[in-house]
Subunit: 129 residues, 2 copies
DNA sequence: TTAAGTGTATTATATCACTTAATACACTTA
DNA sequence: TAAGTGTATTAAGTGATATAATACACTTAA
C-alpha cells in the first residue's frame, strides 16, 4: 500500500492530487477522528518531510493551512501542536461535513437524482455493507 | 451569473476547474437530466467555442471524452449527436452516481462520521429544504 | 463541381500550480 | 553553545491547461 506511519498517523500519498493537500487532509482526518490527542505535538516539518520523502516546503504548506484553520498552534523553536480547544475541532469537522454534503447533493442533482432517490441509494448501500 | 445558453443547454464557466471538464460535465448533466433529447445534434466544436469564448481545442477535448463514454456519436462532416441508446445514458448516469456516493462516504468517514450520522444529517437537510 | 460547414490532427507558445533545492534567519531548549 | 524548531526567500524544473494558427478528410447543399 506504500503506507507510511509517522507521529502516530498513517499516510498514503499518490500523484492524483497535490501532495500538500493530501498531507493536510490526512492530518486533519486524524484530528477529526480523535486518533491524535488534543495538545499533542505533531512531527516537525523536517521530520515529516524526511519520513514522507517530500520537500519540507510542501509539508510547510500543509501545516500552514492547518494553522489557518486553527486546528494547530505553532510555537517557534518548539514545534507544531494540535489545538487544545475541542470546540475548534468540532467546528471545523462540521464545516467540512457541511461542504461534503453540499457538494454531494449538487453532484447528484446535476445527474437528475432527487432527494428521495438519494435516500434510497444510501439505504440500499447501508443494508449491504 | 455569466450564464450562456447554446444548443438548448446552459453553461456557466469559471476558473475553479479546467474548462474542458466544465464543458464535459455540463453537457453530460443535460443528457442525464433528459434536457436534451436522444439523437439530437449538439453545437459544432467551432460554434460552441465561439459561444463560450474558448478555444476550439478545449471544446474538442470535452467532446472526445463524451464520445469515449459513448454518450455521443460523431459523424465526420455532419456533427456530434447524443446517443440514441437510452441504456448507455442510464449506465453512465448510474456509474457517475456510484462514484459520487463512494467519494462522499469516504470523505465523511475520514471525518469520523458513521453511516447513522450521515443518515441523520441528510434527513435533517431534507426536512428543512 | 464547388463552397461551406463538419470532425480531427499537428505544432508552437504561454501560463500557472505544484514541487524541489539550497540557504538563511529567529527562536527555544538542553 | 549546539541542536532542533518554525519561517522566508530565491531559483529552477515539470506537467496540465489553454490558446493560436493551420491543415486535412469528410458531408451536404447550392
Amino acid at each position: 500500500m506504500n503506507e507510511i506511519r509517522v507521529g502516530g498517523m498513517r499516510f498514503a500519498l499518490d500523484l492524483s492530487q497535490p501532495l500538500y493537500e493530501q498531507v493536510l487532509e490526512q492530518v486533519r482526518s486524524s484530528i477529526a477522528k480523535g486518533e491524535i490527542a488534543l495538545g499533542e505535538k505533531i512531527p516537525s516539518v523536517r521530520e515529516m518531510a524526511q519520513a514522507l520523502k517530500i520537500n519540507p516546503n510542501t509539508v510547510m504548506r500543509a501545516y500552514q493551512e492547518l494553522e489557518r484553520d486553527q486546528l494547530t498552534e505553532t510555537r517557534r523553536g518548539q514545534g507544531t501542536f494540535i489545538t487544545t480547544d475541542a470546540d475548534k475541532v468540532s467546528h471545523i469537522r462540521h464545516r467540512l461535513a457541511e461542504e461534503a454534503v453540499e457538494e454531494f447533493l449538487a453532484r447528484m442533482s446535476s445527474l437528475g437524482f432527487t432527494a428521495a432517490d438519494i435516500a434510497n441509494i444510501l439505504r440500499a448501500k447501508g443494508g449491504e455493507g
